[in-house]
């Protein structure tokens, strides 16, 4: 495992925002769709997006210790 680059951290953080938005959108679909297949898909996707968000958070946490505490010169 290598220390995270600033770019990687930005992608991880942006992806968490995306997953978070999808959890909420699916919650709205699961709550207000009248079609039962859509409702069910919405509920399943809430779970999957929650797992995704957790995996992204774990990746950030796992890289915490590897990160330098001083700026590195290139």
């Amino acid at each position: 495992m290598q220390p995270l680059t600033s770019k990687e951290l930005e992608y991880l953080v942006d992806s968490i925002s995306n997953e978070d938005l999808l959890i909420k959108q699916n919650a709205v679909m699961a709550a207000s769709a009248s079609n039962s297949a859509l409702k069910q898909a919405g509920m399943q996707m809430i779970n999957t997006h929650q797992q995704h968000a957790q995996m992204l958070l774990n990746a950030i946490a796992q890289h915490q210790q590897l990160a330098p505490t001083q700026p590195q010169s290139h």
Binding site: E8, Y11, N35, T48
Partner: protein, 149 residues
């Protein structure tokens, strides 16, 4: 069939709700692909790759539900003569590329012979040229040892 949830009127139709989720899934698929290509750490790249596949799967599932419920109409089928035209043009392009490779002494003749074409057409899940398939099966990751950034 119009089940109210007991909290007033739905603000969006089923179609709009599903389309909103679908279009965001499509956007996120693109972002995960970009994130994977721009990752230096192998574990981070693998994470983005896994999330890409998982998101693609959800997008495909939701699309199928929408299609089955007439919420999404696929584009109309292309005419056979258009396929023929594109096939011929692109076969010529590949023949020229073969000639180019042969001029450089790098030619593997018959890259697009009829046999290969038919294999590809009957195996839609296996669309890589044969020389790449072995690597694909071994889960070889080109960026495993050296970062591509």
């Amino acid at each position: 069939m119009y089940q109210q949830q007991g909290q007033g009127h739905p603000l969006l139709s089923d179609e709009d709700l599903a389309y909103t989720v679908l279009s965001d899934l499509k956007r996120v698929v693109g972002e995960y692909a970009t994130a994977a290509t721009e990752s230096s750490c192998q574990q981070v790249r693998q994470l983005f790759t896994n999330l890409l596949n998982s998101t693609l799967q959800m997008q495909g599932h939701l699309y199928k539900i929408m299609e089955q419920n007439n919420m999404y109409s696929a584009a109309s089928p292309v005419l056979r003569q258009e396929i023929q035209k594109q096939l011929q043009q692109n076969q010529q392009t590949e023949q020229k590329t073969d000639q180019f490779l042969q001029q450089l002494g790098l030619g593997q003749s018959g890259f697009r012979n009829q046999q290969h074409m038919q294999q590809h057409m009957h195996q839609p899940q296996n669309q890589m040229p044969p020389q790449y398939q072995q690597q694909g099966n071994q889960q070889h990751m080109p960026g495993q040892n050296q970062p591509y950034m």
